[in-house]
């Protein structure tokens, strides 16, 4: 789990970091770099367990959540958040064909199908953080 803080105008009013949870280290690194480049504070976790640990430390403004992960998957992580009463917007991020459905189940604020277009990622994050 790493936290990157790189200045960005779009993220100036954000109250918490963006938490990225994905078991693929290359994806984790790529997404984190992209968002950091845009000035967001980013926290990464390689599975649900690490994700929950990150939330314990600092409640994020947004979670980008992968679906299939070892130890604790996206679904489990989301349910754990619910149980803990943590209300945080989630963007579902998956390569699965039924990404939309899963996103709906999670009551996600957005869905980011893998592989994703960079503008989509940025606009989603921006829109979510703006509305909150």
């Amino acid at each position: 789990m790493t936290q990157r803080t790189e200045g960005h105008s779009g993220a100036s009013q954000v109250t918490g970091p963006i938490l990225i949870v994905d078991d693929d280290s290359a994806i984790l690194e790529t997404v984190a770099e992209i968002l950091s480049d845009e000035g967001y504070t980013v926290v990464t976790a390689r599975n649900g367990v690490e994700g929950l640990a990150a939330i314990e430390r600092d409640v994020p403004a947004l979670v980008l959540l992968d679906r299939w992960m070892p130890l604790l998957d996206g679904q489990g992580f989301w349910e754990a958040l619910r149980r803990r009463g943590v209300d945080v917007p989630v963007i579902a991020m998956t390569a699965a064909q039924d990404a939309e459905r899963w996103a709906h189940e999670l009551q996600a604020v957005g869905v980011l199908p893998k592989p994703f277009k960079l503008p989509l990622l940025l606009s989603l994050v921006d829109r979510v953080l703006r509305t909150t």
Partner: protein, 1140 residues
């Protein structure tokens, strides 16, 4: 002679004068009470006065003998001895003396011997010198002698003469007095005895026999000797021994034997004398020679033993004349009879005769009364007989009445009634009494020919009376042949309406005199009997006619009932039930069965059986038509077999006899059911008692069989039509159901078992072989009884059947269907495993079928059906239907399995595609993301080379990842198409493993990797890229499947000619059930989803292919939750092998 002075002188003189002594003696003689006293007086006076030395007194006895009374002293004894030759049993001495009228004087012994030479030997001269023998008289009767002997020779003086003469007179007078007194005494005693005897006879009452016994005993006691009474027989010519007595029974018996030997005619011998004169005959001494002459020599021994010495015979005289003789006999030493005895016996005989005559008279009177009473009784009995015969309804009754009545008339009898047969040629014995059945076997039918007693009676119309067997045999000698037990016969004809139609024969066990009265009575009896028989004949004829009419009506009614019931019966079951139950009712049978000829025509199959024990019913359920049993024979010969008694069975079908005995049927009717001269079945009926099947019975059975045959054929046709329709219906329905059930196997199987339940009942079950083909697993079960279904389901689930056990094992093994139509409980228990017995106990299994489910010739399971309740066994057509359903079920199973496999394949493919896409998109995501990021940065003007390089590095790595994935996928394609090839060379596998391990270790964060490949090169001949692919795959898997980290170990060892690599981890492990499938394409162990580990399920599939192509093996051992160990064995390259 005696004076007072003399008396005085006597008292004074020491030696009294002879006269004084004589005077004293005379006085004493007057009062001497006995002969001995007389002797004493006489001898003592002679000895005292005359100087006699001794002597004796001889007293004449009635029977011509002499009683000797000696004086005291030795001399007297000598005298007695010396004179014995003339005194013992003789009166010779006395007679000699008496003839002289005076005393005889012998001066010397020689003189005596001279006169009596007989005495010469016994006289002893030295002691006895002079003798005097004095006769003693009274009224000129010589009563005795006095013998005196003197010690010395002397002469007789005058005084002596006077003295002796006086003594003789006085002695004679004394003896006379004594004898008179004795006679008087005896007379008185005899009078007394006579009076007593009269009284005794009177007390003997009117029983002649008892009286006679009393008489002989009494007479014998009173007079002495053996006493015999012989009475004149009824013929008036012979004497009959009536009574005999002697105290010694042995002698009495001897006497009787002797009496039997002497003439018994009244006009011969002694009897003639006594009876003709009416006077007694006394033989005091019997002439032995004459006696012997009159007796047969064989009886002389009797006389030797008991020599008869004296006989006294007196007539027994009654008012009408002599009625017999009373005789007394004495033997040997006994005294002869006297005239006194004779007188007494005559008196006694008169009294006895009177008593006998009275008794006889009384007896005759009593007999007369008896005859009168009997006549009255006869009349009474005749009345009773008439009344009894009037009530007799059958010849048997008549015989019974006759036998009873005749027995009362004339004692124990046996009787026969014989009637002339219709053809008039014989006499048939219709009734008998008092005979054992075997006695008359030869006489059951007597030809009406002269020369046979019974026939003669009928032919002549005259009664015959045979009073003894001798009489009968004299007339009919041939009767000797027959066992005749009777001694007398009365054979009387039975007349009616002027003709003789039979005879009544009565036999008597003892010879019997038929008096006119009896003859008349028996004639009357026969007449009564004839009338009664005529009446019974008419009665029976009417009865028979009525019974026949009733039977005919009854049969018609019964046949109508059967016909009506058969008309309503439609199915085979109904028809069979009607045939058996109605047949039993119509025939009054206790058991019945109906069978049909099997479709192949080889056997008789039971359709319905009632009244047979279940084991026998089961045993005879199928009877081969060629079996040597009556049932098969009836069908084979197409004719009824009617067995009227067990004996008939024993004769014709010995092996069947035992079974019949077991059934306790006494008669059996077996009838073929014929249609167009062809047997289509049989029916049988068993009866509780032996019976005959008369013409009417046979007609009825024939009619019944015809009705039943038609009904059975109709039912068979109906059944065939129904079965066809049902089968078609079932199959159509089944096909429909299968179609409707789509390709869902449980639904199809459920539809099939319910179809079985509805078509053949009660239970249907499908069992399918397990994958390992070791057990038969319950796939579907239906039962019309939900409870039974539940129990069976529970049992089948709890105790699955091994393919080796149970009834289904045979079907599984042979692929053949089985039908156990009727199973006995014992048989069932032997076939079915004990765990299933509770079902048997509760619901039972009566009939059972099992059909195999076959797919392409392979048995994949069974379809079973069973019926719980007895009554309707499964038939061959049921089995055909079941097999057809089974074939459809098998097809359904096969289709369903194919469909399942196809669906699985599709599902797996879809899953794979989804997984593959996800897997491929993952590297693509970061690759694409990095490219877009680099592009954005460049556009922003951020050209920092480090960041760019980093992006490019990530892009390159992800491109490699994609390449590996795509290559693996391509490998799968190649493997599928058989295009997977190796490029092999000699290589050191140890070095290869070490290198790959090093590379993998670089990227590890949470794991440790230990490689132990040894220091030695291990050369294999293989494809280096492919082998590297395997090593990488196994190591990456070890990392991937231990998400929590841990130690990973790779080892290489040489095992013989193999290089053996093991890769072990401490990861999630693999469930045991998943191990066999682990190397299958697209397969992923079920626990990977729990651990959310991604993967396409192709790595190990390809790995196994590579190893196999190298001639090696790959295996796995694992414990879920503890880790896994993969082992790869590769053959080592041969020494010196090059790069071929």
């Amino acid at each position: 002679m005696a004076t007072p002075s003399t008396s005085a002188a006597e008292s004074l003189s020491p030696v009294p004068s002879p006269w004084v002594a004589l005077h004293g003696a005379v006085l004493r003689l007057v009062s001497a009470p006995t002969e001995a006293a007389v002797a004493e007086v006489l001898l003592s006076v002679c000895m005292n006065t005359m100087g006699a030395a001794g002597g004796m007194l001889g007293v004449r006895e009635a029977a011509g003998s002499m009683r000797i009374i000696p004086a005291e002293g030795e001399v007297s004894d000598l005298v007695c001895t010396a004179l014995q030759p003339l005194t013992a049993g003789s009166t010779a001495l006395l007679d000699d003396a008496v003839r002289q009228s005076d005393a005889l004087w012998f001066g010397s012994t020689a003189a005596l011997a001279e006169r009596h030479p007989e005495l010469e030997a016994s006289l002893v001269p030295d002691h006895l010198q002079a003798w005097c023998i004095v006769p003693l008289h009274a009224d000129r009767q010589a009563l005795g002698i006095l013998v005196l002997v003197f010690p010395a020779a002397r002469s007789l003086t005058a005084e002596d003469r006077v003295f002796i003469a006086t003594i003789a007179v006085q002695g004679g007078s004394a003896l006379d007095r004594l004898q008179q007194a004795q006679a008087a005494q005896r007379q008185a005693a005899r009078m007394q005895a006579l009076a007593e005897a009269s009284q005794v006879f009177a007390q003997s009452g009117h029983n002649v026999e008892a009286l006679l016994s009393q008489v002989v005993k009494r007479v014998s006691e009173l007079v002495g000797g053996a006493c015999v009474i012989r009475l004149i027989d009824s013929d008036g010519r012979h004497l009959r021994l009536a009574a005999l007595y002697h105290p010694d029974p042995e002698l009495a018996a001897g006497a009787q034997a002797l009496l039997d030997a002497i003439p018994q005619r009244i006009d011969e011998g002694l009897a003639a004398t006594v009876l003709s004169r009416g006077e007694p005959v006394l033989l005091p001494t019997v002439d032995q020679a004459a006696l012997r002459a009159g007796i047969q020599p064989v009886f002389h021994a009797h006389l030797d033993r008991w020599p008869i010495t004296s006989i006294l015979t007196v007539p027994l005289r009654a008012r009408t004349g002599a009625i017999g003789l009373l005789s007394l006999t004495r033997y040997a030493a006994e005294a002869p009879f006297t005239v006194d005895d004779q007188t007494f016996l005559v008196d006694l005989a008169d009294r006895a005769a009177l008593a006998i005559a009275n008794a006889k008279l009384y007896t005759r009177t009593a007999e007369a009364t008896l005859v009168a009473e009997r006549a009255a009784a006869h009349t009474q009995r005749l009345l009773t007989l008439t009344a009894s015969l009037a009530e007799a309804l059958t010849p048997e009754d008549v015989m019974s009445v006759v036998a009873t009545q005749v027995e009362q008339f004339v004692g124990e009898t046996s009787g026969l009634i014989g009637l002339v047969t219709d053809d008039g040629r014989a006499l048939e014995i219709v009734q008998m009494a008092g005979y054992a059945p075997g006695d008359l076997r030869p006489w059951q039918r007597i030809p009406l020919q002269p020369g046979i007693a019974a026939a003669d009676v009928v032919l002549s119309g005259e009664a015959q009376f045979w009073e003894s067997r001798t009489d009968l045999l004299a007339r009919y000698p041939q009767l000797v042949q027959a066992a005749i037990k009777n001694e007398a016969w009365a054979i009387v004809p039975l007349h009616a309406e002027g003709r003789t139609f039979g005879m009544l024969s009565l036999g008597f066990l003892t010879p019997h005199v038929f008096d006119p009265e009896e003859r008349a009575l028996l004639g009357l009896l026969a007449q009564q009997c004839a009338t009664a028989l005529q009446r019974t004949e008419r009665y029976q004829a009417v009865e028979q006619a009525r019974a026949a009419a009733e039977r005919a009506a009854d049969r018609t009614a019964r046949l109508y009932t059967v016909t009506a019931a058969l008309a309503e019966a439609l199915t085979l079951t109904q028809v069979a039930d009607v045939i058996v139950t109605q047949g039993i009712a119509a025939l009054d049978a206790i058991a019945g069965s109906v069978r049909q000829v099997s479709p192949d025509g080889a056997a008789l199959e039971a359709l319905h059986v009632v009244g047979y024990p279940s084991d026998l019913a089961a045993q005879w359920r199928i009877i081969p038509l060629d079996a040597p049993v009556p049932m098969a024979e009836a069908a084979r010969l197409a004719r009824p077999i009617l067995i009227e008694s067990p004996a008939e069975v024993a004769e014709a079908w010995p092996q069947f006899s035992e079974a019949l005995n077991a059934l306790r049927y006494q008669a059996v009717a077996l009838l073929p059911l014929m249609v167009a001269d062809r047997p289509i079945g049989t029916m049988s009926f068993g009866f509780a008692a032996p019976r005959t099947f008369d013409v009417e019975d046979r007609r009825f059975l024939d009619a019944l069989a015809r009705q039943c045959a038609v009904a059975l054929e109709r039912a068979q046709l109906y059944a065939a039509t129904q079965a066809q329709a049902r089968r078609l219906g079932s199959l159509a329905e089944a096909s429909q159901l299968f179609a409707a059930a789509n390709l869902d196997l449980p639904s199809v199987l459920n539809a099939i078992v319910w179809r079985v339940v509805r078509a053949v009942g009660d239970l249907g079950v499908v069992g399918l072989l397990s994958e390992d083909r070791k057990t038969l697993q319950l796939a579907a079960l239906a039962h019309q009884n939900p409870e039974a279904r539940e129990v069976m389901e529970q049992l089948l689930s709890s105790f699955p059947l091994s393919v080796e056990e149970g009834i289904s094992s045979r079907t599984l093994r042979t692929g053949q269907a089985q039908r156990l139509s009727v199973i006995s409980p014992e048989q069932l228990r032997s076939l079915i495993k004990p765990e299933y017995w509770p079902y048997l106990d509760r619901f039972g299994i009566y009939s059972l079928m099992i059909a195999p489910l076959r797919v392409n010739g392979e048995v994949i399971g069974t379809l079973g059906a069973l019926r719980d309740n007895p009554g309707q066994p499964y038939t061959e057509s049921d089995l055909t239907l079941l097999q057809e359903l089974a074939d459809r079920a098998a097809l359904a199973v096969a289709n369903a399995r194919l469909y399942q496999q196809a669906r699985n394949a599709i599902k797996i493919r879809d899953q794979f595609l989804s997984i593959a896409a996800h897997e491929l998109k993952t590297p693509l995501t970061s690759l694409s993301g990095q490219a877009q990021l680099a592009q954005r940065r460049l556009m922003r003007g951020d050209q920092a080379p480090q960041r760019l390089a980093r992006s490019l590095s990530i892009i390159a790595r992800q491109a490699d990842r994609l390449d590996v994935m795509v290559s693996t996928l391509l490998d799968v394609g190649r493997i599928e198409h058989g295009q997977f090839v190796l490029e092999r060379q000699l290589l050191d596998i140890a070095g290869l493993i070490a290198r790959v391990a090093e590379e993998v270790e670089l990227d590890l964060e949470q794991h440790t990797l230990t490689a132990a490949t040894g220091s030695q090169e291990l050369m294999v001949y293989g494809d280096p890229l492919r082998l590297e692919q395997i090593i990488q795959n196994l190591l990456n898997n070890a990392v991937k499947y231990s998400p929590a980290g841990g130690a990973i170990e790779v080892k290489l060892e040489r095992h013989g000619d193999f290089a053996v690599m093991t890769v072990s981890d401490q990861g999630v492990g693999i469930p045991a059930a998943a191990l066999p499938h682990l190397f299958q394409r697209f397969y992923r162990a079920p626990n990977v989803s729990d651990h959310l580990i991604s993967g396409m399920g192709i790595g190990l599939y390809v790995a196994r292919e590579i190893v196999t192509l190298h001639g090696g093996t790959i295996d796995v051992t694992s414990q879920e939750g503890a880790g896994s160990v993969f082992t790869v064995s590769l053959p080592l390259a041969a020494e010196g092998a090059g790069g071929a």
